[in-house]
Amino acid sequence: MDMTAAILATVVTAATPLLLAALGELIVEKSGVLNLGVEGMMLAGAVGGFIAASLTGSLLIALVAAVLAGMAMSLVFAVLVLGLRANQVASGLALVLFGVGLSSLAGQGYVGQSLGAAWRLFPESWREIPFVGPALLAHGPVVYLSIALVPLTVWFLYRTRAGLILRAVGENHDAAHGLGHDVVRTRTLAILWGGALAGLGGAYLSLDYTPMWAENMTAGRGWIALALVVFAAWRPWRLMAGAYLFGGITILQLHAQGAGFGMPSQVLSMLPYLATVAVLVIISSNRSRLSLAAPGSLNKTFHPPA
């Protein structure tokens, strides 16, 4: 395989779980809610998807199960922060711990099991198309779905009435309430959507990326997804670029090491984070634009007027 195509193929797979989870979180944060529990929801999706795949053998059912598992976790969060008006940061962190424990417990009987062949969307013969075949056409359907979701998210947020209401709720929940919009319902739906995409991102790991269930297998990708949302200043296209940049640097540094570049591996491992910091500094240099970007009611508890 051509080396560039090989690298590109792994970059795409490395970016996909990040992109999915971050796209979901972007909608949640646009509605004014900060859900730090992405890691926990991803783990629920990973284990839920894996169990469903082992039991039924159907990857479609597995993906549905992963989405439902992620949504179930996010529903717990929604009840806490919207129903009981609990602190969003604390509830999100609790959701991570809950997800880690629950997924390990649920997956206990599935450790060490392997799934069959990976799921590919396009026929095998397409992979022989030079460059494009191995790099872009050799993936499972979740990869293409994650890419398609980027323009869909843009369209939803900026071209639909529901998207407008969502952003209004996120910018100023009191004003949106005053105009007669149901803040709690809007946010509940956004949180559920975030859970669904995080679950899907987790399932991509356990069904396609490394087709197995292993405890804590997300290994911090949920946290990276959270950082990506800020990195992208709450913009979907920039989010996609960030996910691919992050995946790209991770993969490139592994290749650089294999090729024997005389650079300490720790520095190379640090590069993706350095890049994130660098971009944040650049964005922040224009303060007016950054302050416009963050939803105004983010992480504020909504108390409806009596």
Binding site: M1, M3, A6, I7, T10, A14, P17, G101, S104, L105, G107, Q108, V111, G112, Q113, S114, A118, L205, Y209, T210, P211, M212, W213, A214, E215, N216, M217, A219, G220, R221, T250, I251, L254, H255, Q257, G258, A259, G260, F261, G262, P264, S265, Q266, S269
Partner: protein, 362 residues
């Protein structure tokens, strides 16, 4: 104490085992309480999984005489000290701390609890009530290095490495020396992932190595992800810490298995008899602390018989994986022909031998 979910199951399993042995055993209180601290989840199918297998072996061997509990996924910082202290204050007679980074917390807590026995895995500092133990995994790596030399066509071996500590560097060197003793043209490429356990990143590292021409892959990380990648790409590989054959039925040649059961049984029995004393144990094939997993039936018979002969040679002491000549990158001779590298030098190994590509991270 921190009652994690696992601690509960551990204690519950102990009770069940006691019940299964009948009323006489069930009535007797356990003579020894043993605590275990793991760095990863026991479901990692690697390092922690194998230590937990040792704990289960201990429970099976000693039955109602021993009660065990464990805490998993304990990070190597301040958290470890807290967990070790909690095990010490809750009546554990012997505590096994199973990761290098637990060394200082173990010693600190041990000073405060002189009656409790501590066993630290992979460390080098001992005290009156702190023993150290580890396995000579490099003996297994010598065997698989020889096998790799017979199986490689590209003459390029790959190593998914965790952290640049002597244990891992020793593994890289053991494989390279063994392989080059058969074919001096063989080289080893190394990728450091700076994690013990991140299946996704381990898989990415494996893919990067294979894309660069590696056709026999080794790993010094704890998940079976690299084995899966090797299977998918049709190359050969070796499992780490536990038998990972099911993740790569064709790719998996064998695995170097950490086998702790015998050691755990011996040490807990010593506590019962009152004969426990602080010592250092570094055992390989001969001490039954390292095993080879069953060899893949699709391997050529001559490769298997060569591997078996190597295991036998190391066990009897005829073969030493670090027998000279050992030459550093750059040409400096560490051991001449006829010499072997001392244990002390092995334990502080901080250089690559000739044949390893790239520079060792400082």
């Amino acid at each position: 104490m921190t009652i994690t979910r696992r601690t509960f199951t551990g204690l519950a399993a102990g009770t069940l085992a006691a019940a299964a042995l009948g009323p006489r055993a069930a009535l007797a209180a356990p003579k020894v309480k043993a605590g275990f601290i793991y760095v990863g989840p026991i479901g990692d199918h690697g390092w922690s999984y194998q230590h937990n297998a040792g704990r289960l072996g201990l429970m099976e061997a000693l039955g109602a005489d021993v009660a065990t509990s464990f805490v998993e996924s304990v990070s190597e910082g301040a958290d470890a000290e807290r967990v070790i202290r909690q095990l010490a204050t809750t009546g554990h007679d012997i505590i096994f701390t199973t990761s290098f980074g637990y060394m200082n917390p173990t010693l600190k807590v041990a000073r405060q609890f002189p009656k409790v026995k501590f066993e630290h895995c992979t460390g080098f500092n001992r005290a009156g009530n702190v023993s150290t133990y580890s396995g000579r995994f490099y003996e297994g790596r010598h065997v698989v290095g020889l096998m790799a030399a017979k199986m490689t066509k590209t003459k390029t071996l790959g190593y998914v490495a965790s952290f640049p500590i002597p244990e891992v560097v020793r593994g890289i060197n053991a494989i390279t020396l063994a392989a080059r003793s058969i074919d001096p043209e063989i080289t080893t490429k190394v990728v450091w992932v700076n994690e013990w356990y991140d299946p996704g990143k381990e898989a990415d590292a494996a893919k990067a190595l294979i894309d660069q021409g590696v056709d026999v892959l080794f790993q010094h990380t704890d998940s079976p992800a690299p084995v899966q990648v090797a299977q998918e790409r049709g190359i050969k590989t070796v499992g780490q810490a536990s038998d990972m054959a099911r993740f790569g039925p064709d790719a998996h040649m064998t695995a170097i298995i950490d086998y702790w059961d015998a050691y755990y049984i011996e040490r807990v029995k010593a506590v019962m008899d009152g004969t426990w004393e602080s010592k250092d144990t570094w055992g390989g094939f001969a001490a039954d602390m390292v095993h080879m997993a069953p060899f893949n039936p699709n391997l050529p018979a001559e490769v298997v018989s060569m591997a078996e002969a190597a295991v036998e040679g190391i066990t009897s002491g005829k073969i030493h994986p670090f027998a000279g000549p050992v030459v550093k990158q750059g040409g400096e001779v560490v051991a001449k022909a006829g010499e072997t590298i001392s244990d002390e030098a092995l334990l502080s190994m901080n250089y690559y031998v000739e044949g390893v590509q790239g520079d060792l991270p400082a």
